[in-house]
Symmetry: C2
Subunit: 349 residues, 2 copies
Amino acid sequence: MSRIVLDAIGGDHAPKEAIAGVAMALQNGFLQADEVVLTGPEQQVREAVKAAGLPSEIEIFDAPDLLSPSDSPTDAMRKKPRNSIAVGMQLVKEGKAGAFVSAGSTGTVVAAATLGLRYLEGIRRAAIGVIIEGEKHPFIVLDVGANPTPKAHHLAQYALMGSAYYSCQFQNDAPLVGLLNIGSEERKGNTLVRDARGMMQNMPINFHGNVEGSEVYSGDCHVIVTDGFSGNVLLKVSEGLAEYLLRMTCGEMMKAGIAAEQIKAVQKAVMPRVDFSEYGGALLLGVEGYVTICHGRSMAPAFANALRFAHRALAGKVNEHIVEAAKSLNLTGSSGNGSGEEVSNEETR
Amino acid sequence: MSRIVLDAIGGDHAPKEAIAGVAMALQNGFLQADEVVLTGPEQQVREAVKAAGLPSEIEIFDAPDLLSPSDSPTDAMRKKPRNSIAVGMQLVKEGKAGAFVSAGSTGTVVAAATLGLRYLEGIRRAAIGVIIEGEKHPFIVLDVGANPTPKAHHLAQYALMGSAYYSCQFQNDAPLVGLLNIGSEERKGNTLVRDARGMMQNMPINFHGNVEGSEVYSGDCHVIVTDGFSGNVLLKVSEGLAEYLLRMTCGEMMKAGIAAEQIKAVQKAVMPRVDFSEYGGALLLGVEGYVTICHGRSMAPAFANALRFAHRALAGKVNEHIVEAAKSLNLTGSSGNGSGEEVSNEETR
């Protein structure tokens, strides 16, 4: 099933920008009108569809339970079972859609996915992978926030998933995988990274070893593996710093008397490279289906990119590549502690 | 004792740049010639002093054991007891100097300090605090790498030390203290930050609550508290990203046909704000004496800034302020688990 279900009510600017994003995606030929379905409060979404001039045949699955920012993921799932995220995930679970796209609460999307969808064979924990434009080439960081307290064998699985994802996305047979650490030496860091390093050294991946924060953007690694806490810090600090630097630099360009159109040209060239939604979204790796998480503040172009991104993930069959890689590794057997684990991610508590 | 002992052999460009830094500091009036002493292999340092045209009266304490990058902190301290870091720390311990400045291995400096110097009264773990130029005001991040596996009450002590340090450094009576987390909601993150948050809420500090990575550079917090792993990721990712962005922006300015002198003007204005050694160094908070850690790649200006920084820390009596704040808190009693702890930081293992 190649349909994509979009959470029409998720995000700071939904439903308007979400629906405008669909219109933009259709205009740009990212996907066809019958490839997208919507979830959200039916009447509200229908009106937004009409206002945006979208074809009225677009299917809407009613999700009358509105989430508020104060709802914890647990509350969202227990007390508001017919929220747009739960309804969308259910469509994926039932095979009525192949992918789900949402700019709603990341925690709730992760909770709904890990509760509702099965883990891929050989995988025990999901991770959010985000693609970032680096100096030499794009790179993937995972996990950027699905699970702030993973175990070492989860990091090892992230390495495998990230490697398969990168191979698939960028036609690179042997992406270089680095483990984020606070020094390049083997003994550095905490128990988690030292244990994960030992496991990753024995895996069928192109393992680089430790990567320091300073090398992330300009170094050689294509895949950066880390826990969901540090990964989230990496991603969000990068977003905040990049925006701040760009503002500062533009201000200084004005002070230096540089012409407005030249400043605009520089901005236009630099901004997409530090726009962390340029690739359209972050993929929740490790579960069946293709769950794409967008920035809460996404506007129409970000939603359109996310739809294209989900469409490509579906077409590229990333999950099949992950399952294949996990098979060759037989991770469950070799790690020796992969069975009998609780299924929920920490984030969902 | 207001003398500063400089590790003349520590860093990628020592002793030449370290000694040139002393010369620069003297020329700029940052300190007097009798306020600085040097450690390192005596003959080599004496020659560098001579070559730089420094007064020959500058005292040199011989440290014949040369460290190599492959020496672990433990090896450095056990097998090479007369290395420049150990000799320098000993001078502080004996009261022959009040501060120690080194661009050598951070791990070895932390190990030497926590083994050789006493913790300040009421403090049980040291943290590296670094001052960064933010959009609204400077801010301190701690810990950026002394201890990758702190406990919650250590983070609470970091909050206290950071607050006292900031007050002292920037004449701010109630600096806003934030706890780095992966979301602003109370339940977010891992056990460490949730427990630390509970403690920090009851402390005599101006506590903001959780801070997300995206708010670090442009938000309102003056003190950002985090574990040494995440703090190190924050600092090093920032360094790498800022350098990459500046390179990229300058490249785009050239492509946009902007004049070379205008590009230089922009660079000159932006660079100091993203030069993380601008303030001269990072201070190891929590131990007696003022231990200043410089970037390994420090050049003469960075060494000069570090000497000025150490001189000011000494004059400002930061440690007395920390001890005073710790007294008012009676942290040892209130945390209930402050006694009987191992003394070494994780980093030293």
